[in-house]
């Protein structure tokens, strides 16, 4: 039984990634969780781990090559199948390792074939040309072959000026050609993608917004006991985890293909981080029931990793909700756009004193306005109200008493 490891979609904006380095070679035994390779997406460098135990096949994507999301990276053959193949005596054609390797390569080749999208009349093209066309997103039907029998070969693809992906067309593409260098290019590409994703989100997600001013004095009092180890963001995250536990609809995300919401299975919360290379949303995975102290520690790692552009696989998990916190900025309140693939976003404006009614008296209290934007396909207004109510209760009461 072979497992084909494919290029994962690790963020909503990820379309492809460059394989930076393989840590394991073909034929090596790998264990679940071992680091197999490092990839570089438009935003971050991160590592991919083995999904299970087995023998590693030949990498389908060499270091330095780019592969789209979903492309086969490598086949992992389980030990049992490896043993069945490795029974050749000393002089046999193909010693154990080679036979196993061959089997792995077959598995790889067939999985690569299986992912082909060819429909309609078959276009004569070499296997190499098909692979490159798949990687670059080129339609073979648009080319004329110069190989044996009019077969499309690599040279035809190299000559082809057909742009690989829609985002590389138009004025932005011309800007790319004039770009000053790789880092500029990368930043541009990243912000381009962010722009596209945001536009798509705004267009496609029927979002509604609820807001509430929340008294933050209890948080600030508690915070004063922890010198810099925590920030108000950690309390906001903590409040969100509790609110998700109370209103589990916020743990689900819309599946457009199936037309219904699906439970992520764990509480995964993204944090919007502004970095030199654009906005990033590292995800704190499986934080249901996690305490403040641990949450703070994980938040520090996540933010530092995002700023360094190095997110591991866990930090790029799928999330149902994100926090965008501008508590130290100038705006009183703002509505955020839901990150594509997620259900909601909690946007928190600046912490400032306000004149409020408190226990029948007029009081000046520090607080902030929390806006929750949510996907109406997944949650309704009542659930949203319960959710924001739970956030308020945690921040105003639970922190003070707990």
């Amino acid at each position: 039984m072979a497992t084909v490891l494919t290029m994962p979609k690790l963020s909503a904006t990820m379309a492809e990634a460059t394989v930076v380095k393989w840590y394991k070679a073909a034929g090596e035994r790998v264990l679940a969780g071992e680091t197999l390779l490092e990839i570089e997406t438009d935003k971050a460098t991160l590592t991919i781990e083995a999904p299970g135990d087995g023998i590693l096949g030949a990498p389908a994507i060499a270091a330095g090559e780019v592969a789209p999301v979903g492309a086969a990276l490598v086949t992992i053959l389980d030990d049992g199948a490896g043993r069945e193949l490795g029974t050749t005596p000393q002089h046999g054609i193909g010693a154990t390792g080679r036979a196993r390797q061959a089997a792995l390569d077959i598995a790889r080749a067939s999985s690569a074939l299986g992912s082909g999208t060819a429909r309609g009349p078959r276009v004569p093209a070499s296997p190499l040309a098909r692979r490159i066309a798949r990687e670059r997103g080129i339609d073979l039907g648009s080319l004329t072959g110069s190989g044996p029998g009019g077969c499309i070969v690599r040279a035809d693809l190299d000559k082809s000026a057909t742009p690989a992906r829609p985002e590389l067309t138009g004025p932005a593409d011309q800007i790319r050609l004039r770009s000053a260098g790789p880092s500029w290019d990368r930043a541009l590409k990243s912000s381009q993608q962010t722009a596209q994703m945001m536009a798509a989100s705004h267009r496609e997600i029927p979002a509604f917004t609820l807001s509430r001013w929340i008294d933050i004095e209890a948080v600030l009092l508690d915070l004063s006991r922890f010198d810099r180890q925590r920030t108000e963001t950690d309390y906001l995250l903590y409040a969100i985890t509790n609110a998700v536990a109370e209103v589990p609809e916020f743990r689900t995300v819309w599946n457009g293909e199936r037309g219904h919401a699906e439970d992520l299975g764990s509480t995964n919360i993204g944090i919007v981080v502004s970095t030199d290379h654009g906005l990033m949303i590292p995800v704190l995975a499986d934080v249901g029931g996690v305490g403040l102290e641990q949450l703070a520690a994980r938040r520090r790692v996540a933010v530092a990793s995002a700023r360094a552009g190095r997110l591991n696989q866990s930090l790029m998990s799928a999330a149902s909700i994100s926090l965008s916190s501008l508590t130290r900025e100038a705006a009183d309140e703002f509505e955020a756009i839901i990150s594509p693939g997620q259900t909601a976003i909690v946007a928190v404006g600046r912490i400032a004193p306000a004149v409020v009614s408190r226990r029948g008296e007029i009081a000046v209290r520090r607080g902030c306005r929390v806006c929750v934007a949510a996907d109406h396909r997944v949650v309704d207004g009542r659930a949203g109200a319960r959710f924001i109510g739970a956030i308020a209760r945690v921040l105003e009461d639970d922190v003070a008493t707990g």
């Binding site: 389908a60 005596p89 002089h91 010693a95 070499s126 296997p127 190499l128 190989g147 044996p148």
Partner: protein
Amino acid sequence: MSNLEAMVLAREGLVTPETATYREAISRAIGDEMRADSRVLILGEDIGESEGPLKTTLGLHKEFGPTRVRDTPIAEEAFVGAALGLAVAGYRPVVEIMFADFIGVCFDQIVNSIAKHHFMSGGRMHAPLVIRAIGGGGLRFGPQHSQTGESWLLNVPGLRIVAASTPDEAYGMIRAAIRDPDPVIVLEHKALLGTKGSVIFGEAGIRDLDTPRLVAAGENVTIVASLAMVPRALEAARQLAESGISAEVIDLRVLRPLNAQVIVDSVKKTSRLLTVEEQGVHGGWGSSVVAEIVQQAFDYLDAPPIRIGLPDTPLPYSPPLEDHAIPSVERIAQAARDLIGRSI
């Protein structure tokens, strides 16, 4: 020692290559091993005083005498069988098959006794013997005396089969074959017997029996050849270079067990494969090489691999027909161009 290591030693003046013919290299390989190991002896037809029907045992009878350089009756089955007896009794016999075509006569000894002895003794016994078979066409010997026999034994487990394309390879592989603890078939080519080449004699000249060898580096097409097809492939590569096509030539050398790694690596670079063998392609080693490439480098291929070889008929005696049948330099170059199409 690998060829590369030997070349480095030669460059540093630690060993001195000499110019020798293919047949001199064969004779010296056997002689050097006989000198180094008293268990080594050679049997064959007319290999004694007459120094071999094709003069491949030069000086051996004179130096080692009729006991260790033993003329045999014209009975391959008998003396190849005798060699197995000698091998299991502690000797290291070398058998010369005058024409590789006569492997047919001793086929049963090779397939059913020699190849299986180690396995059928539960691994307790080895059969350290070498069968040298001189084959190949182009010399007007007719259909029964011109075959290379390369693929006849290809699917017999227990055999190692190597093919020498240069004097250096002949010397190095025969010595290595004699030292191997298990049976080795060394295929030689009679059209190469008079060819001269640079040979490193002595221990430094002993070659591996494991892997094909890159003999000319190139970028656009990989040509795999054996025996007398190697020099033709090299000449085709030179002609292709003039028209801007860079061909990589690999001497298969070790037909069995087939270690295709060198070829896989090459095709991953060139994306095109051409095999050239002096035998019919059906069931030939070219088919095995293509199969390995399809399995191991499928999506690196930019064209369907081409195998060229003899037509599916016995090799004609008529000189023009014989020349037409054996892959020529022009045919090899044309096949390479066909692989490339108009894409370069």
